[in-house]
Subunit: 344 residues, 2 copies
């Protein structure tokens, strides 16, 4: 089969690889119908977080089940499924607690030894615990379903971690696909006001379409000042940090209201930079977040997508075929695209 | 009147100072009946956080109202009152939200220009917003009431920040008065299991009396190992950080379960040290805490003390008179006493 591999800095290529096939009795093999490129894929592409040479790319996909192992009970060949970006057994203490990303048998699609999402098929470990079946006959745009594999669930996780409550004032740092989905998630949880930090005209427009009520174009100290001006000097009840830089974390903490919370989901590429523990202490600002256990949220979010109450699909503004994966990466790297979909 | 002042490293003296008196119409003057010494007072005593020369000491006290200003409506002379360790106007946005420690007109008793708790009387700014009246005829030990001015409220804050839920496994890092009160707070919130990290026989015994179910004497990496062994490898759902050192923070994060929370109330004397943001991200461990808004919790905790459901008074294991304040500091500094009460 054909799949995408990363060989180094900005070097992504589609090549012939061994067919995906069942290895364990709890596996399924899913034929990928749609996949997409993540901001965290870009960390490898840009060499910010270098990948092992020839590692598969991609961890977000939906598709149709082709084969299942003998111990798979809840997923059948022919089922249309959404895969969260990590696999999980669904039965360990962490999975039962809803922290599927900490599953003791879990892993990330595309990690060495596994299939990436940017390929014609994917072996899915622990298929019963991992995959969520789309009910037969359900009518939903592929793009909306595909966002449930990562960005929409991650935006939702950020909003939960930021303790978004009905009527709350929420600020979102980061106008990428996750930040934009976080706007949807915050509104879905009842946020009264959503301040999006963005200076990018198209992303700002999409944020507004998703329910943002205010836009802040400033950055750094001026951004903190601007959000405080919008909030009678108080800051936002809930802040969503959807960028993993120290500067973004500094801004996120700075615009949070005393007693408020920052929910962060951007991979922290600068380590502790921007985290000011003394400020958190003095002002009682909470910091909660991490790798989103999107598997936990999938049933709930899928129900809303199928009911037509939630449609994050507009985050995809470029669609390419598998052979154009490199262009999908390039467009996101150059910020020409918010998020690239790969249609098979 | 007489009051205690700190002149430098380990140099606390009781001296004659100007009488406390009304300055603004919203003030009250409270005659102190009982005060106590805080772990954070020790930061000044040890010069860890040096104080301005001749600053008043102490911020925890109860007493009887002597005078009230013309705009004080809810507190009357003769009222027995508990003072939280910060004053607050009770009406600003932060106070209304329950974050009284961020009150825009707030301050700490004992800060330069204010009276400290270790004196015969204290001018209390914003008496209506600050003081909580003990109902006439109510029968409660002075020690229990006195803990509501700081340590019990702070322990409760830590437990709330650590998201203690009924049945939860809670670990407490720090066997000082706040850590011990946090044991009480965690049990009060329904914790099923409370693991106290302590190697001090008397403090361990008190923790057990307060409801701790397990004791861990190890420190550092061995402590993390020990807690994981006690919890099937998972760690504690809720961790209370009642020591402000980087080492304690490192331990607190290390013993938290994936998806769990660390509630921290120890003044962070080492800044960001011990905070490992990447670990928090990878394991979804939340960090929430800060200066405890004990005023917010006072009515609820006072009701429990008056009903006999809550008695943190055993944290006091030394009582001195005002003239022996220096000995009260010394005993705590040398860990001969958990917490020193000053009876007037």
């Amino acid at each position: 089969m054909r799949a995408s591999l990363i060989h180094g800095h900005q070097d992504v290529r589609v090549e012939e690889v061994p067919d995906a096939r069942l290895r364990y009795s709890t596996d399924a093999v899913v034929r990928v119908t749609h996949a997409c490129i993540c901001g965290s894929d870009l960390l490898g592409y840009r060499n910010t977080a270098p990948r092992p040479r020839s590692q598969r790319t991609g961890h977000e996909f939906i598709g149709v089940v082709e084969w299942v192992g003998s111990d798979v009970a809840h997923v059948r060949p022919g089922d249309r499924v959404v895969a969260p970006f990590t696999w999980s057994d669904g039965v360990c203490a962490h999975c039962v607690a809803g922290v599927h990303t900490s599953c003791v048998r879990g892993g990330f699609f595309g990690q060495p030894g596994s299939d990436g999402a940017h390929g014609e098929a994917v072996r899915v470990p622990f298929a019963d615990g991992t995959l969520v079946v789309v009910p037969k006959g359900a009518d939903a745009p592929a793009g909306a379903l595909l966002t449930l594999s990562d960005v929409m669930g991650t935006g939702h996780h950020a909003a939960l971690c930021a303790a978004v409550r009905p009527g709350a004032t929420v600020a979102v740092v980061g106008d990428g696909a996750v930040g934009l989905c976080a706007v949807l998630a915050a509104r879905r949880l009842g946020a009264g006001r959503v301040i999006m930090m963005s200076r990018h005209p198209e992303r700002s427009a999409l944020a507004t379409r998703f329910g943002a009520t205010d836009l802040v174009v400033e950055r750094g100290p001026a951004a903190i000042e601007a959000v405080r001006e919008l909030t009678r000097g108080l800051g936002a009840d809930s802040v969503i940090g959807a960028v993993g830089s120290g500067e973004a974390m500094h801004t996120a903490l700075g615009i949070a209201r005393d007693g408020g919370a920052v929910g962060f989901v951007g991979v922290p590429k600068d380590g502790n930079e921007g985290v000011d523990f003394r400020q958190m202490f003095r002002r009682n600002v909470a910091l909660r977040g991490g790798v989103a256990p999107v598997r936990a949220y999938l049933p709930e979010l899928l129900a809303d997508v199928l009911a037509g109450r939630l449609d994050p699909s507009p985050v995809f503004d470029l669609t390419v075929g598998l052979d154009q994966v490199a262009e999908g990466f390039r467009a996101m790297d150059e910020r020409r695209a918010v998020k690239s979909m790969i249609a098979f």
